[in-house]
């Protein structure tokens, strides 16, 4: 498993030479500076860029960050995360449109639903490791796809359209662009911070130990399966939160969000940005969404471009953008 994520973690970096702790401190200072600049940039962004575009990027960035919690920090490649993203989008869209639920409660409802799905899928999927885990999650998410295709509340091929944005806490009108933008930004930051906290908690360190050497973690007395399941449910819940936000922002929930292609896209975002890095998935998501927007109007097939980037990333560029940047700075 250790070859999967080459980006140096705090512990492995410190082992290499005596100066490493100082560099590590430098690196985390740079990280903090990047975070502050990014947040300030995001606060100012809606005055310069089309807000719906940034909000879409934020939703997918959170989705990829949640996915990276599993791939980057536990070493589990889930090829079925679209089920949680798209499933939560359906739940939230239905709750808002049919039950008239308040948007924040609907998002919590969607994320909780995704977490529950994650529990069921996780219990089955963690029975296998490595590539089998990827195949099992892919197959189970395909099953969920067919279920969503057939149950009446999703409206099959049409999806749930015209989802109202509603009033946040019955007070703030989310139809105003700036209101919904800052609502989505706060949710994104909350989700992002949650992942950061999980990764840097004692629990997160156990997860990384499992990634590096599962057998050793078992022999140290950790109940590895429980840790994996907990991480899986957390990842599914936050991925669901991202899907719920997407349903409110774009006012639509469709089969595209639960299809396996979507699972592939989130893998690509994470791989491109840098798996096992905090900022990588968000950067990857921003690039992929920008690229899709750019090529949507042209004659070039997006699937082929995504495939080409996939192949290039795997062959030449396995650390991803942030992973390469960290490596250069460490030199």
């Amino acid at each position: 498993m250790s070859s999967l994520t080459q980006s140096g973690t705090a512990t492995s970096g410190a082992k290499e030479d005596g100066k490493a702790p100082a560099r590590q401190k430098n690196l985390s200072r740079i990280g903090l500076a990047v975070a502050v600049i990014a947040v300030l940039g995001l606060i100012a962004a809606p005055f310069f860029v089309y807000p719906v575009f940034i909000m879409t990027v934020l939703c997918f960035a959170l989705f990829a960050t949640a996915f990276n919690l599993l791939l980057g920090y536990v070493g589990l490649l889930s090829f079925g995360h679209a089920a949680f993203f798209g499933g939560a989008a359906y739940f939230t869209a239905h709750a808002v449109k049919v039950w008239g639920l308040e948007p924040l409660s609907a998002i919590i409802f969607g994320a909780a639903g995704a977490g529950l799905m994650g529990l069921v899928v996780g219990v089955v999927a963690i029975r296998r490791q490595g590539i089998y885990f990827a195949m099992v999650t892919l197959a189970l998410s395909q099953m969920i796809f067919f279920i969503f295709l057939q149950v009446p509340f999703t409206h099959g091929e049409d999806g749930i359209q015209g989802v109202p944005r509603g009033d946040l806490l019955w007070l703030i009108d989310l139809n105003r662009p700036l209101n919904i933008y800052y609502f989505v930004l706060v949710l994104f930051l909350a989700g992002f911070y949650a992942v950061w906290r999980i990764v840097h908690s004692p629990f997160g360190h156990v997860l990384q130990a499992i990634r590096e050497n599962e057998n050793r973690a078992i022999s140290l007395g950790y109940r590895v399966d429980r840790y994996k399941l907990a991480a899986f449910v957390m990842s599914a819940t936050i991925a669901g939160m991202a899907g719920s936000m997407k349903a409110i922002v774009l006012q639509i929930a469709t089969l595209t969000d639960v299809a396996w292609q979507m699972s592939g896209e989130v893998v690509l975002m994470t791989l491109l940005g840098g798996m096992g890095t905090i900022f990588g998935p968000s950067i990857g998501a921003a690039l992929v969404i920008t690229m899709q927007n750019y090529f949507a109007t042209s004659n070039v097939p997006v699937t082929v471009i995504i495939g080409v980037i996939f192949v290039l990333c795997v062959l030449l560029f396995r650390r991803g953008i942030v992973g390469e940047a960290i490596r250069l700075m460490k030199r």
Binding site: R127, V136, Q150, V267, P301, T303, F310
Partner: protein, 295 residues
């Protein structure tokens, strides 16, 4: 009319036949996946794309050069195998030393490129491919009507599966292959060209997918996305059977095809998901799969 459990016998047999046909394709494809995985330790996500490529090659040969079904049955798989061998040599072979997930991700990207290109060029709609003249029409078996071509597919798939099984279990090449699966370094030390063996194995697996594609062309339409949903079911089949044995992959393929056909008769709503449900149950009871040896 004869009834079984309240279902008309012809309807039951008809679905059983469809299940058996689907099972033939599951068996052929999971066989190819198992052969590739056995030696290369790569889950070939491009298997569905290679299946589609086989069908499309047959279609293009017919449209552009007038080459019919029978020659295409040989030529198309060879073309698919040659293209795949080239890809293995130039790109996939660089990933063997890394985590096995990279092989999966690489072949996933490959599948997107192949399917995306064909979809862009030919659209998502299916192209019909005529049944070969020799096998048109059908035979009345007394209890049901069997289209000749479908009967041929069932027989052909069994023959192909047996042939591959014999190749791997009974020939010298197969012995090298099995030995290299156990310990590639040692086999290399005995003077066997292992990298060549890897390339040939990938070409064999991909060629089998291409062959399945040609066989499928007259039954299902030739369309760019014909392989993409199929491959996920085949993954589930492979998880159920376990990758340990070639024979296990074949048997699981047929059995699941038939179970799926039966589900269509008794509870049609669940026919899309029955394979995945069985996979979940097998994973809970026997995580290594029915024929798996590991863990």
């Amino acid at each position: 009319m004869t009834m079984i459990f309240g279902i008309a016998l012809p309807a039951l047999l008809g679905q059983l036949l469809i299940g058996f046909i689907n099972g033939s394709f599951y068996a052929l494809l999971s066989l190819g996946l198992a052969v590739i995985f056995g030696l290369l330790r790569v889950i070939n996500f491009a298997h569905g794309a290679q299946y589609m490529l086989g069908a499309f090659t047959a279609y293009l040969l017919l449209v552009h050069t007038g080459i019919g079904f029978w020659p295409a049955l040989v030529v198309a798989p060879l073309i698919v195998a040659a293209i795949s061998a080239l890809i293995e040599r130039t790109m996939l072979s660089r990933l063997y030393d890394l985590d096995h997930l990279y092989g999966l991700l690489f072949t996933f990207g490959l599948a997107l490129i192949i399917e995306g290109t064909f979809r862009w060029y030919y659209g998502a709609a299916g192209q019909p491919y005529a049944t070969p003249q020799l096998l048109s029409g059908g035979t009345n078996l007394g209890f049901m009507f069997l289209p000749n071509y479908r009967g041929f597919v069932v027989v052909a798939s069994i023959v192909i599966c047996l042939a591959v099984w014999l190749l791997i279990e009974k020939t010298r090449l197969g012995a090298y292959l099995r030995a290299a699966t156990e310990n590639p370094q040692l086999v290399q030390a005995f003077g066997v060209n292992v990298p060549l063996l890897l390339t040939l194995t990938y070409a064999l697996g991909a060629g089998l997918a291409g062959l399945a594609g040609v066989l499928a062309a007259p039954i299902y339409q030739v369309s760019p996305l014909m392989g993409s949903n199929l491959i996920i079911i085949v993954f589930a089949v492979v998880v159920i059977g376990g990758m340990g044995s070639i024979g296990g992959a074949i048997i699981t393929g047929y059995v699941l095809g038939i179970l799926e056909g039966l589900t269509k008769v008794f509870y049609p709503e669940a026919s899309n998901i029955v394979v995945f449900v069985i996979m979940a149950i097998v994973l809970m009871l026997r995580p290594a799969g029915l024929f798996g040896k590991e863990i």
